[in-house]
């Protein structure tokens, strides 16, 4: 209970800080917007099966735009010299992980919905009739993404060239998650059944496995 309370304090701090500074948030959303526009000009999607090709594009944008935000979640603490203060204030490193994880999850979810709206409006992707299943898939995928993104961000924040290393370490680990994400998003857009899909099992397994592992390993990632 104390862990959850401390985690919510960290989560609140993250949201307030981002609402004040807006830099990572705006950068990610602008990147998503420009990517959708560039995809429109660089790929001829006329006649393409948008539920298949479109879902892959969507997750590619989320992967890149999401890392702009999540990669910064511990780097900014290091740059501002506030990580030690955070450790002292909260005392439990698990609460810091959980708070940052929830903040990243909230951001990724809002980015997902923003992209769904943009892809529906600008690329005519069939998202409007499948909003509920898509929300289900996005939440599960973002839960897995946020676990690893938060942990890797903490792990590399003190490293030289952490901005360079972050995507190189994170992306290969996310490949199974994004394969499942693209497949399930395509199924949802085509109004296919999600439950019982092997991809859904893979996604749930990934979420549980990496949330538990990251929670356990975070204290080593946060150590000086």
């Amino acid at each position: 209970m104390r862990l959850l309370r401390s985690a919510l304090i960290v989560f609140g701090k993250e949201i307030r800080e981002e609402a004040r500074r807006k830099e990572s948030f705006l950068a990610s959303f602008f990147f998503s917007f420009i990517s959708i526009v560039l995809f429109h000009f660089s790929l001829d999607l006329t006649g393409a099966d948008l539920s298949r090709e479109g879902s892959g594009l969507l997750w590619l944008i989320i992967l890149f735009a999401g890392s702009l935000f999540t990669g910064n979640s511990f780097r900014k603490e290091e740059e501002n010299g506030t990580f030690q203060a955070l450790l002292l204030a909260v005392s439990d490193s698990g609460a810091i992980f959980l708070g940052k994880y929830l903040a990243n999850l909230a951001f990724m979810t809002s980015l997902g919905f923003f992209l769904l709206f943009l892809s529906g409006a600008l690329l005519n992707m069939p998202v409007w009739n499948a909003l509920l299943p898509l929300a289900f898939v996005f939440t599960l995928v973002n839960a897995g993404y946020s676990s690893l993104a938060t942990m890797i961000s903490a792990l590399l924040s003190k490293e030289k060239g952490s901005a360079l290393l972050y995507p190189l370490v994170l992306y290969p680990l996310l490949v199974p998650l994004f394969m499942a994400a693209a497949a399930l998003t395509g199924t949802a857009m085509a109004s296919g059944p999600l439950l019982g899909s092997p991809w859904l099992r893979l996604l749930v397994l990934f979420d549980i496995l990496f949330f538990v592992a990251c929670m356990l390993l975070f204290e080593y990632a946060a150590e000086e």
Binding site: L148, K160, V169, P172, L202, A213, L217
Partner: protein
């Protein structure tokens, strides 16, 4: 300790050389030629053992990384690092032999087949581990960071194992039916590759110990 590792490495290397000679003889003169794929199928006798050896080495690295994080003893980190390096050699062998086999059997260098693709993902994942080690040379945090990455990366391995069931496969059959001479040859080549991997691992650990001893002025 370094001397003991060197002796084990020499013994493993000699045994691996003998066993590999026997395995190669079995592959070319004892195992029958497979009816549909022809001579190209013989790659199988080294392709599969390399995959098994890669899993074994990554498992070793995973266990040693946990031991390192729990105890902080540098020896465990050396084993974990050497395990990943040797495992990467084995993964590279799997990818190259898989591509060569694919070229001979299906006319393409690369087929996006789930198990081979999963090995490619593992290769990329552990490449990031090696990148962290290379960029963080001398940094006291690097062993800890790479231990965490090794543990997280190994959690991808069960996904590799289950990949064929979840993603389906058009190339690899789920179960392989083998004639007894084929089974014997596979068993022999598996031992040969396992010993070869073990000798590589031991030489790598020995060289790490030696370098450490030289740094401490204790050659």
């Amino acid at each position: 300790m370094a001397e003991k590792i060197r002796k084990c490495a020499v013994a493993a290397t000699l045994s691996a050389a003998l066993l590999n000679a026997a395995a190669l003889a079995a592959v070319f003169f004892y195992a029958p030629v497979e009816a549909s794929m022809g001579e190209a199928q013989k790659i199988f006798y080294y392709h599969v053992p390399c995959a098994i050896a890669a899993y074994g080495l990554l498992l070793l690295s995973f266990v040693m990384s946990i031991a390192f994080l729990s105890t902080g003893q540098k020896e465990y980190d050396e084993w974990a690092f050497s395990g990943v390096e040797t495992g990467m050699v084995m993964i590279a062998c799997v990818l190259v032999s898989g591509a060569t086999w694919g070229r001979s059997a299906w006319g393409k260098w690369w087929v996006w087949e789930p198990r081979l693709t999963s090995f490619l993902i593992l290769f990329m994942t552990y490449l990031s581990y090696l990148l962290i080690r290379a960029l963080g040379t001398g940094d006291p945090r690097t062993p800890k960071i790479s231990a965490v990455v090794s543990i997280v990366a190994f959690l991808n391995v069960p996904l590799v194992n289950r990949a064929i069931a979840w993603w389906g496969s058009a190339v690899h059959p789920a179960r392989i039916g083998l004639e007894p001479p084929m089974k014997h040859t596979l068993l022999l080549s598996s031992f040969a590759v396992a010993l070869m991997a073990a000798s590589l691992l031991l030489w790598r650990v020995f060289s790490a110990r030696k370098a450490e001893g030289t740094e401490e002025g204790n050659p």
